[in-house]
């Protein structure tokens, strides 16, 4: 049991990355009822674009990160405007397939652009290791944790205290009702795609920094896990998604620690099935509207 605090720190760090990614998915599902699988591709672009800007174009880290976030937000806006909006009234399966197509297309383009190999990510934050008793925490873990939490809090604040945020919440709660009240769903869709994709890009950068490498396939399993967080947390429930993301991170760490690292993904997806069996609407979800 001596290593338990260490496993918790490790799990929460990864949970932060999942949460940053899942939040965009939760918002897009909440407002538009889209299962935005291609979100994982944006996350991958975050890692690959920032890598290229720093290594190939020799940009300092801060401008490189700013440009990357802008690029990811832009990609999100393009997705919304040209891949999802024309399908707004189509059955959900059609948007799902469109999204899957986007994911495969972006990944394959990335593989052509960058080659299939894993690349070492520039470590622009020099590593510090802190020992708190028997627990070892690195400054990178603290950075990921702090940034993750700060952004969640900031996002929640924006949702509750700004006009766009309130309109988004209204749209999440009842898209049709919000539209009837004169809320411009198109504008909100663009904003949440921009913000969600920016956060996904940031998660990609943080993964590069924390796990020291990036590759064009990195979005697949990570995107899937974020999606599990959205479903387990309750479709459209932002707080539930964040909670679920941290829980998945912890569960994975504890599975690897006390069961087997080889079973980590199996257990994550088994959890998905289990939660859906017991609570079909997710941990904090309400009844899902049948539109």
């Amino acid at each position: 049991m001596g290593a338990l605090p260490q496993h918790l720190v490790n799990g929460l760090t990864v949970g932060s990355l999942y949460a940053l990614l899942a939040i965009g998915l939760s918002l897009t599902y909440g407002v538009l009822r889209i299962i935005h699988i291609a979100h994982g591709a944006v996350y991958m672009l975050g890692g690959m674009i920032s890598y290229t800007l720093m290594v190939r174009f020799r940009l300092p880290p801060l401008p490189a990160i700013a440009l990357t976030l802008a690029a990811c937000a832009g990609v999100g806006v393009v997705f919304e405007r040209w891949a999802y909006r024309p399908l707004r009234t189509a059955p959900i399966i059609v948007t799902l397939i469109s999204s899957l197509g986007l994911l495969l297309m972006v990944e394959n383009l990335a593989r052509i652009a960058w080659g299939p190999l894993t690349q070492p990510y520039p470590q622009f934050v020099s590593l510090r290791v802190y020992a708190l008793g028997s627990v070892i925490v690195t400054n990178l873990q603290l950075l990921v944790l702090a940034l993750g939490l700060a952004l969640m809090v900031a996002l929640q604040w924006c949702l509750r205290h700004t006009q766009v945020g309130l309109a988004t919440l209204a749209a999440v709660q009842n898209p049709r009702g919000a539209r009837l009240c004169g809320i411009d769903i198109d504008a909100i869709a663009l904003v949440i795609f921009a913000v969600g994709s920016g956060l996904a890009g940031l998660a990609g950068i943080l993964e590069g920094l924390y796990l020291t490498s990036v590759d064009p396939s990195m979005g697949q399993i990570f995107g899937l896990k974020a999606f599990v967080a959205v479903v387990v947390g309750g479709l459209g429930s932002i707080a539930g998604t964040m909670l679920a993301a941290y829980l998945i991170g912890l569960l994975e760490a504890l599975t690897a620690a006390y069961v087997s690292a080889g079973l980590r993904d199996v257990i994550t997806f088994a959890l998905l099935v289990l939660v859906l069996m017991v609570r079909p609407s997710g941990l904090l979800g309400r009844r899902v509207d049948r539109a």
Binding site: G2, A3, Q6, H7, N10, G11, T13, V14, R111, P116, L117, T118, P120, L127, V129, A131, I136, T138, E207, L211, T212, S213, D215, S217, M218, I221, E252, A253, A256, A257, S260, A261, G262, R264, D265
Partner: protein
């Protein structure tokens, strides 16, 4: 023309066209029949560095043979197939090479999983397959068409254990292994031999291919307090594992399987790779290896490691078999049977009746960001 007539005309022209095309193909084949040798391996996906490096090396061997006039005046052409290191794709790859591309011999530039599933396909098609570096024992058990020029997984596992116990003077070992054929066969043998030599394996844990976060596993390693860390896996996971280990303050020596003996491992792990000892059945100091490495680097702008050098040797073995037995699948098989001993860039190998090889196990150490020749474990000690 009536409708029927026009249909008959169209049909007739199609048939004539087809006949001409077949005849043209026949003539072309009669004039310059290249000998087709198939190569399959992971050309895309996480293992692509190995697959492509190995393929480049076979192409180099083929081009060098062609430059010297080919095999009895006939040119050798390499046809390739991508298996993404997946067993299911391994089957499809060999089927494509044999039935569509007309390969009369196949080189496996792939891992154990894909090669193991491909071996019965080659066996059934009666096309000889020479395995460059896949280690699972079942591969050559597929039948007389499967040959291997690389040490078996268990042999390598024994050698790693001998090194860790004697060179690392370790009493307690933690073994972290990739959860697949390769990882299992090497780590099981390493564990057995390490214990047999009086050591204690205090932790043995698998990890999945594609894993990136090893902090939890390494936390367990720290709690188990081993003297030495044995890593059986590939360069992607291995690099992250070693790097994260050093970050968590684990300073014990690392002994690793040949999957980590790739330049990409050093590139990804950076300074954390320093001092890591990896098994690699290649003697970096041999003059044949140096000549090969020079030529390879001139073409592809990077220094080849164990994987390309074994791809090169596998192709040399096929070429030699072609010379001896003639340009047919049966000829290659006959040639392989006659070739009791062969000297390639990785040294001299002797084939056993089971179509395996006897050879010493070489170890490299990473020093100053480069692989350097370190020690040899003689074959007698690891069989």
């Amino acid at each position: 023309m009536t409708r029927n007539e026009s249909r008959a005309f169209r049909l007739r022209s199609t048939v004539i066209g087809l006949a001409l095309a077949v005849a043209a193909g026949g003539i072309a084949a009669a004039q310059a029949p290249d000998i087709k040798v198939g190569v399959f391996g992971p050309l895309t996906g996480p293992a692509a560095a190995d697959g492509n490096g190995c393929l480049y090396a076979t192409q180099l061997a083929g081009d060098q043979a062609n430059a010297k006039g080919g095999i009895n005046g006939r040119k050798v052409t390499i046809v390739s197939a991508d298996d993404q290191a997946k067993p299911s794709e391994g089957i499809a790859a060999v089927q494509k090479l044999v039935s569509r591309d007309g390969a009369i011999a196949v080189v496996s530039c792939s891992y154990s999983g894909a090669t193991r599933s491909a071996a019965p396909v080659a066996q059934q098609a009666k096309v000889p397959m020479v395995v460059a570096y896949a280690v699972h024992p079942d591969i050559t058990r597929a039948g007389e068409y499967a040959w291997r020029i690389f040490s078996l997984g268990p042999v390598q596992g024994h050698a790693i254990a001998v090194m860790a116990r004697e060179d690392g003077k370790a009493g307690r070992a933690a073994v972290l292994w990739a959860k697949n054929d390769y990882g299992e066969s090497i780590s099981t043998a390493a564990t057995q031999r390490f214990t047999a030599l009086g050591g204690q394996v205090v932790l043995s844990e698998p990890f999945a291919l594609g894993d990136k976060d090893f902090t939890t596993l390494l936390t367990k390693v720290r709690a188990a307090t081993p003297d030495v860390l044995l890593v059986v896996g590939y360069y992607n996971e291995g690099a992250l594992l070693v790097q994260q280990a050093r970050r968590l303050g684990l300073t014990m020596p690392v002994y690793a399987s040949d999957g980590l003996s790739a330049p990409k491992f050093v590139e990804l792990a950076g300074t954390a790779a320093e001092g890591v000892v990896v098994s690699a059945a290649t003697d970096l100091t041999s003059s044949l290896f140096k000549a090969f490495a020079q030529e390879f680097e001139a073409r592809h702008k990077y220094v080849p490691d164990s994987v390309p050098s074994h791809g090169y040797d596998a192709m040399l073995v096929v070429l030699e078999a072609l010379r001896r037995g003639g340009a047919s699948a049966d000829g290659v098989l006959k040639g392989l049977g006659e070739m009791k001993e062969f000297t390639g860039v990785n040294g001299t190998i002797v084939f056993t009746p089971e179509r395996e090889i006897r050879t010493d196990q070489s170890f490299w150490k990473i020093q100053g960001g480069r692989f350097t020749q370190y020690k040899l474990v003689p074959y007698d000690r690891v069989k």
